[in-house]
């Protein structure tokens, strides 16, 4: 996903309450925020609510930021925390974080005679389900890496952890995901 650069002046205008400046920032970040919330929370309804909450929070505190680099780091941190808060509130940590062995129950789509588009959608759904089986910590790193192609360094700043931790979590995340989806290896 490509994100257009935002001029410093836009942040200043948004901080001054300029509606159009705020819409400009929304347009630049909406897909990233929506995808982040979607893959963190696993469904559109929650992604919608939490994305709205994140942008409203941005509106009330944007005057604290002058530079885009600081802004994106802060904004992703706010977004991840909003997702984790939402998960805690909904008590989803327990229900969604299932053991890896349960992933064996995924449908084995490779045997079904379906056309390529339907098969593609089914594979995507299986990947989404597999992502939801990851712990929130692993999922955060994976989603941030996926959403904006963020560097280890940016991810470590957003999640406030070391580079080694980011690397380790990515390895574990990919491995868990691969284990869950190994039967689809040839279709993916």
């Amino acid at each position: 996903m490509n994100r257009q650069k935002i001029d410093k002046a836009i942040f200043q205008r948004a901080a001054d309450g300029d509606h159009y400046a705020f819409k400009h920032i929304y347009d630049a970040y909406r897909d990233h925020v929506y995808n982040l919330t979607y893959y963190m929370l696993g469904n559109e309804n929650d992604a919608y609510d939490v994305s709205q909450e994140i942008f409203l929070k941005l509106f009330t505190s944007i005057d604290q930021f002058k530079h885009e680099s600081e802004f994106s780091t802060w904004f992703y941190r706010v977004s991840i925390n909003a997702c984790l808060d939402h998960m805690r509130k909904a008590n989803r940590l327990k229900t969604r974080y299932v053991n890896h062995t349960e992933t064996d129950s995924f449908a084995d789509t490779s045997t079904e005679p379906v056309d390529s588009l339907v098969l593609r959608n089914q594979i995507n759904t299986d990947i989404e389900k597999a992502i939801q089986t990851l712990s929130p910590k692993l999922r955060s790193v994976m989603v941030l890496r996926y959403i904006d192609g963020l560097s280890y360094e940016d991810i470590s700043k957003i999640l406030n952890c070391s580079l080694g931790t980011v690397s380790s979590r990515l390895n574990r995340g990919y491995k868990s995901l691969g284990k869950a989806l190994i039967h689809l290896k040839d279709e993916i």
Partner: protein
């Protein structure tokens, strides 16, 4: 260097993303050829990375902005209401503070008025009247817009003036300091030995039966040796000078004397410059309201030059006794300064 399984775990992502150095990459590939366990792990990781790469981005709900906009408008309205509420609170606080401030001003005003009434009863704004001080007593008199007067111990001042009068006349017996604030009407100080005519000036006047002494601090005064005497002569005493009319009403003259010495009484100091000892004793009697009997031979030829603060009288008398070879005796509240020679008699 040989790579072990534990070394290789963290290189897997970089290996598949192609970000390893060629040297490391060959070592990882070599290790994977020989290690089934790592090869299996790498297969999972490669599958996971491929799955994430294959993941399709979801489309942002087109209605999200509409809902955000509605919420923003509500938020703006809510902020405006909060702001208005805060403004109302501030206004209420300002009103309270203003009320408290007004009450404080009233209290301060009342306090000042009471202070003036209770503690400064002599600040009379009505000029006409008689002001008397006893021994040991001094008074301040404020004639609004006309003059400020300090009346020294044991003095008498009669002021004759009406609001529409074209002059201010004061009869002085004793000692006083005058600061005249008006130059619109003539001001005259009348004593038993002479008259002081002034316009907007400050000076001290002493009229204690032995003539008149006028010490001019600022401005100038004219000193006249009689009122109805046709041969009266008049002398202008300039600023910083001391004018004298002797008891026999001879022509006034300017004395070679320091003005400040004549005004030190205002600051609770006694300054005597070649003063007859009888005059010194009389001054102390007035200040301390006591009787001091002088029992020394030929007191009329004893003169004293000294400066005292208004310390306890015993201390001052001890110093005088030392200078006159005397001793101090106290009877009730009265004192006797007795010469040592008289004592031996």
């Amino acid at each position: 260097m040989t790579l072990y399984c534990k070394n290789i775990v963290h290189l897997s992502v970089d290996y598949y993303s192609g970000s390893l150095e060629l040297f490391d990459e060959e070592k990882v590939a070599s290790h994977l050829r020989d290690c089934d366990s790592c090869r299996k792990n790498f297969e999972y990781i490669q599958c996971g990375m491929t799955a994430m790469d294959a993941l399709k981005p979801v489309q942002t709900d087109p209605y999200l902005w509409d809902d955000i906009e509605i919420s923003l408008q509500e938020d703006v309205r809510s902020r405006a209401m909060k702001r208005q509420y805060k403004i109302r609170q501030y206004k209420a606080q300002i009103r309270k503070l203003a009320a408290v401030f007004a009450v404080l001003l009233i209290i301060i005003g009342l306090y000042v008025s009471i202070q003036e009434m209770v503690f400064n009863p002599n600040d009379d704004i009505k000029p006409a009247g008689v002001y008397v001080t006893d021994r040991g007593e001094r008074k301040e008199i404020q004639l609004a817009g006309l003059a400020y007067i300090q009346l020294n111990y044991d003095s008498h001042l009669q002021i004759d003036h009406k609001n529409d009068a074209d002059k201010l006349i004061m009869n002085l017996s004793g000692e006083a300091f005058f600061r005249i604030d008006t130059d619109e009407i003539p001001v005259r100080i009348v004593t038993s030995s002479g008259i002081v005519n002034v316009h907007g000036t400050s000076f001290g006047t002493r009229a204690r039966g032995n003539g008149v002494v006028v010490a001019v601090e600022k401005g100038a005064v004219s000193l006249m040796n009689g009122v109805k005497n046709k041969e009266a002569s008049q002398l202008v005493i300039p600023e910083g000078s001391v004018g004298i009319i002797s008891p026999d009403r001879t022509t006034p003259f300017i004395a070679d004397s320091d003005v400040t010495n004549h005004l030190e009484w205002r600051y609770n100091k006694f300054v005597f410059d070649q003063s007859p000892i009888s005059e010194v004793i009389a001054e102390l009697e007035r200040a301390y309201n006591v009787i001091i009997r002088l029992d020394i031979p030929e007191p009329e030829v004893v003169f004293l030059t000294a400066s005292f603060h208004r310390d306890p009288l015993d201390i001052i008398l001890e110093e005088i006794a030392l200078a006159t070879s005397s001793k101090i005796y106290k009877e009730d509240s009265n004192y006797i300064i007795r010469s040592v020679m008289n004592e031996s008699d």
